[in-house]
Amino acid sequence: MNPAALIPTADVIPVPWGWFYALLMVTFLLHILVMNAMLGGGIIALISTFKGGEKNLLVSREFSYKWPYTIAFAVNMGVAPLLFVQVLYGQFIYTSSILMATWWLSIIVLLILAYYGAYIYDFKYNALGGLRIFMLEFSVGLLLIIAFFFSNNMTLMIEPERWQAYFQTANGSLLNLVAPSLLPRYLHFVIGAVAIAGLYLAFIGHFNLIKSKIDRPTLIAKGMTYFTLATGVQILAGVWFLLALPQPIKTQFLGGNAYATLLLISGVLLALVALYHGHRQRPIATGVTALLLLVAMILLRDLVRVFSLQPYFHPSDLTTHNEYSPLIFFLAVFVIGLTLIGYLLKLAISCRKEVTK
């Protein structure tokens, strides 16, 4: 059966696809930042607890305060890109999700458990004592499983050639384990999360948002070290990921497509710069570089999707209904929302200052 015959008909979009593309990239960047802090932070806390010692334990204690927020915002910031990816690629992601429905839906349960686990880890940190590490393992383990399911779905949705498997297994128990890029892709995301979470901890130190008894230099140093080490490993994982991509896609990144190639080169260069700043323990410079690096990586990730789906579809194929007023309404709400959040944060920070006084 021709894979193209399986691809559902797409629905009409209200405004040209570029709007959704921009919204998808921006909100995905927000999601990935918070998600990295959540997942990578958990991994760092776990490693720190394993390693033991007062300072390491303080790192994990510091993160425990932040964990529930990061989960809340990782989910929250995930909603928007999931919405926009459904607008642009609904016919692909709905299909791949159904193929692996059991795993995909289990994420909801796993997430609730991980989330409550994180709250217990935070609220009952002292009471847990020796059980602390189990709670940490529990939640981090669940988050890693969730991440694995995500990698499966994100690869399955762009590979209609693999959808045939549904005709043997329609009960939603498929995974995309046969995809050569699955494992490097997964590792690339998990290791990247550790790097960004290291940076996040360093920022907590740098901007003095510390709640535990850890001192700023220690937290900054630990954070930057995690960033640097993880970024070093990440470069290797990235190479593996690149090599594991199907030949036609790989070729595009290795000279076949100028934009893709340039983007990849910039990514590599940015990674080296970030590594340098990280090694020099400069949170701000590293942060700025890492942000640019993340933007490059997100655009590269999108290109993998575009190239994979090239034989079948591009979002520019979508029919447009041309109704702009809801977009304007959303943008207005967005501005109001940002203003409110700004105001709320201002209130929170000023009260924090009062307390500090």
């Binding site: 015959a5 989910v75 016919q91 839906l105 329609a170 959040i341």
Partner: protein, 880 residues
């Protein structure tokens, strides 16, 4: 069908979505109202300078955060994920139509989370006024989330003008938007009181606890006004078909409505109860009870709202099984499987019949039906179908008379495949496609009475008036016809100018010994008072005649008549014989001397095929009679569809005659005003389940006319080149003719039955002439113009004007002989050699008087001692 279907079987039928949705809506509405609850109580604590109360508010805010943000937040995402897996087409439609509505909702979701975190973590740390402001910002953002999602949810039920203009705003501010918003705002306030009980009940400060229990009771009860007003308004703005779906049409709705009606006041009372001064242990226990009550109440509401949408997921736009209305023409043209993307079976063939059926079930049915699961389990619903025929008929009529389900979508082969799959795989019937087995009836020899020929003085002719009397033999439960065979006789005195004798003679009739005691065979006489209001002596028919007796004179027709003699097709030894014989004897009244004797068949059948669809099998020898199971299923179906209580009545020993409510010219009942007459009702209803059937298969599904059945009541030579439909029309055309008459009589029920019927052998519904049953019927002369050889076999749609014009009531042009006297009964006009019990059985008199099986008068000397020279009976009667 665009998307693959997650094959869930047991947990299909929307179970997962129900599970996630019901818990989510409870917590998410709490998340809205709870904001106001927190801030208002916080303000109260400040005003009263009540540190204990403030402490409670802080603790409650932690509970609130953990419940709404973690469980509420994630299950909210969970609903989205679940619907995307179970109904991706509808999810995609909602996402694409309302993408910026969702996006705006996401913004408020972010503000909610930011404000709630700040509210919780800055308790006691922030300046009071600012802290309360943070709380209000939370409440407003949460309410805005409700505002936005409310528009999208209600769009699914009432898309309103969106259907025409596809405008975001028309869809969003749809007809139920505002009432639903009022209702949901009310319920979100009620729920924060409900959840407040939980945190309050666990307070260890008795005074504060008591005070808070009262506060929460007020929070639950006061917004009831808003909730009820919103609910009432909500219902009022629903379009009439949706209101009807909720109140009467949907079979599962009753339970939810009942639940709603019980649990709504219960919630109110429970809240008042909680305001009483109770021991803490009781308060602790009861606070969970009241959550359970709220959960059940709100769950029932959501189920009703979802159910009201049937058979759509987006009303008038997309069916629950993801098929767009606009796709129907393509599906009808190409077939369902051919137009579905995600199936490996593109066409039904004998080799993949069951696999195709399974595929169709998965694609079309599993969205709403589980297989053996907790929600909408298909198994009990199809249990009665032991035969693919019945299941196929059910699918044929699906969604036509009760529109809570979509029609079956696909072609005949696909429907048949699905029926076979359901009966075989789901119902576990080994051989689902057997249908009724062919019946071999043993030929029964008969003795033809002697006729003295030229020496004979009299010719006695006798016949049954309708050619077959079917009755249901289901008296303990219901009856659609009592036993009662009407027979006629005419006695002719032979001569140059033969005379019809009507005076000075007695004509008697008697069955074979085996048929003398019908009262020992059927239970009709036990229930005659309930069925007919008649207290009959067992063995006596409804017109006072027994199976043997003397015929009465019908002066108008110059014939003798015995009306409704209660013959049954069950000989004493227990078998089925639909053609009992009567011996007719004419005696001189004065001397008692026998003037003439003949025999006739008195056809009577109980081969009513109800069990083809209603299950239960046959009562007698596996070939005839109505079982209790069949009888009760018919009543249960009637009760379900028409709101009657016939099962209950039957079980109380009060069975009813169908025609006591549904008028019937044959039985002379008036019925209930406004109800369809019996023929229109029963044909109109069942025609929806038996469309496009070949030949007379639809007819023989119910009537005893099956070509390989035990009765085969069409016995004349016409049966060799015609079937029922040539005279009576196809099932659809037949039903349309009956329903149109009722429609013109102002009976609106006919509209519903007509809505999905398409004429088969007429250009349009308008081209079919309305008719009253048993009055307007096809006539022999429709084909046999001027009594000549018929040149056509199309007798449908030209009706007799009155019952006196019916073949069975008409006489020759001299008003002497009745048509039937010489040509025999309808369906068995001479030559009628195709009686299943033997070729002579329907031809006794021609054989007796003429030695052939032609109509009487072939030759004329049967009655005329001198060959007549002019055609006295009818034109062409002297044809050789």
């Amino acid at each position: 069908m665009n998307y693959p279907v997650w094959d869930l079987t047991t947990f299909g039928g929307g179970f997962l979505i129900a599970l996630v949705a019901v818990v989510h809506v409870l917590v998410s509405h709490f998340a809205v109202g709870g904001g106001a609850f927190l801030v208002l109580l916080e303000g109260k604590a400040y005003r009263q300078d009540n540190a204990d109360l403030l402490d409670y508010v802080k603790k409650h805010s932690k509970f609130f955060m953990l419940l709404t943000m973690v469980f509420g937040g994630i299950t909210g995402v969970g609903i989205w994920w679940t619907i995307a897996l179970l109904n991706p087409a509808a999810t995609s439609a909602l996402i694409h139509i309302f993408v910026f509505g969702w996006a705006a909702e996401w913004v408020f979701f972010v503000v909610e989370i930011v404000s709630l975190f700040i509210y919780f973590y800055t308790f006691d740390k922030m300046e009071r006024k600012s802290h309360m402001l943070v709380g209000w910002i939370y409440f407003i953002s949460a309410w805005m989330s409700l505002f936005l999602i409310n528009g999208i949810i209600d769009f699914m039920l009432t898309p309103g003008a969106w259907l025409d203009n596809h405008s975001f705003w028309s869809g969003f501010f749809n007809p139920t938007f505002w009432p639903a918003l009022v209702f949901r705002t009310g319920i979100s306030l009620v729920l924060c009181g409900v959840f407040g009980f939980v945190t309050a009940a666990f307070l260890n400060k008795p005074r504060l606890r008591q005070e808070l229990m009262r506060t929460c009771a007020i929070w639950v009860t006061a917004p009831f006004v808003l909730m009820l007003a919103g609910g009432w308004w909500y219902f009022q703005v629903l379009p009439e078909p949706i209101q009807a779906m909720i109140l009467t049409k949907s079979p599962e709705m009753g339970a939810y409505l009942q639940t709603l009606l019980w649990f709504l006041p219960l919630l109110f009372i429970a809240a008042l109860f909680m305001a009483l001064r109770l021991p803490q242990a009781v308060q602790k226990g009861c606070c969970f009870f009241i959550i359970a009550i709220a959960l059940i109440y709100f769950g029932a509401f959501e189920f009703i709202r979802e159910g009201a949408r049937r058979p759509f997921i987006i009303h008038d736009h997309m069916y629950s099984n993801q098929v767009y209305l606009t796709d129907l023409p393509q599906i009808e043209k190409a077939g369902f499987l051919a137009t579905a993307r995600w199936t490996s079976k593109k066409k039904v063939d004998p080799a993949n019949l069951l696999a195709s059926g399974q595929e169709l079930f998965k694609l079309q049915c599993s969205a709403c039906h589980s297989i053996g699961g907790p929600l909408n389990n298909i198994k009990p619903l199809v249990k009665k179908y032991a035969d693919a025929f019945g299941m196929d008929a059910m699918l044929n009529g699906l969604g036509k008379l009760n529109n809570y389900m979509p029609h079956f979508l696909g072609n005949r082969q696909e429907r048949w495949a699905l029926a076979n799959y359901i009966v075989k795989e789901i119902n576990g019937v080994d051989d689902p496609a057997t249908g009724q087995p062919a019946v071999d009836m043993e030929e029964q020899s008969i003795t033809i009475p002697k006729f003295a020929g030229a020496a004979a003085e009299y010719v006695l002719l006798a016949w049954n008036s309708t050619g077959m009397h079917s009755f249901s033999d289901s008296s303990p439960y219901w009856s659609l016809m009592p036993p009662g065979n009407t027979i006629y006789a005419q006695l002719v005195k032979r001569g140059d100018s033969p005379e019809i004798v009507t005076a000075g003679v007695d004509i008697s009739y008697a069955p074979e010994p085996d048929f003398e005691h019908p009262e020992q065979q059927i239970q009709f006489w036990d229930f005659a008072p309930q069925l007919l209001g008649l207290d009959l002596i067992p063995g006596v028919g409804t017109a006072g005649k027994r199976v043997s007796g003397t015929m009465s004179l019908d002066q108008d027709r110059r014939a003798f008549l015995a009306r409704d003699i209660p013959l049954v097709p069950y000989p004493a030894e227990g078998d089925y014989n639909p053609y009992p014989l009567l011996t007719i004897t004419a005696r001189d009244q004065a001397s008692g001397q026998i003037l003439a004797t003949t025999r006739m068949v008195a056809p009577t059948a109980t081969e009513m095929g109800c069990n083809n669809c209603h299950g239960g099998g046959w009562k007698v020898n596996g070939i005839a009679g109505m079982t209790a199971t069949t009888s009760l299923d018919i009543l249960a179906t009637h009760d379900k569809n028409s709101g009657t209580d016939l099962v209950k009545r039957a079980q109380n020993g009060e069975p009813m005659l169908c025609q006591s409510c549904h008028a019937d010219p044959l039985l002379g009942t008036q019925g209930k005003p406004g109800l369809l007459n019996f023929s229109a009702a029963i044909h109109g209803w069942h025609a929806n389940f038996l469309t496009d059937r070949e030949g007379s298969t639809a007819c023989s599904s119910c009537h005893p006319s099956r070509a390989d059945g035990p009765t085969r009541f069409f016995r004349s030579h016409h049966s060799q080149f015609m079937d029922c439909t040539n005279c009576h029309g196809t099932m659809e055309d037949h039903a349309i003719s009956l329903l149109k008459q009722e429609q013109s009589a102002g009976k609106t029920a006919a509209n519903r039955l007509l809505a999905n019927l398409s004429p088969r052998n007429a250009a349009s519904v308008a081209a079919i002439k309305p008719r009253t049953p048993w009055v307007n019927l096809p006539d022999c002369l429709n084909c046999h113009e001027d009594f000549q050889m018929g040149m056509s076999v199309d007798a449908f749609n030209t009706w007799t004007a009155a019952s006196t014009d019916l073949y069975r009531n008409r006489r020759d042009q001299m008003d002497a002989m009745m048509c039937e006297a010489c040509h025999s009964s309808p369906h068995a006009v001479y030559p009628a050699t195709f009686n299943v019990l033997g070729s002579s059985r329907d031809s006794i008199q021609p054989l007796q008087y003429q030695g052939n099986d032609r109509p009487i008068g072939n030759d004329c000397t049967v009655c005329h001692t001198v060959q007549p020279e002019f055609e006295g009976h009818h034109p062409n009667s002297l044809r050789q």
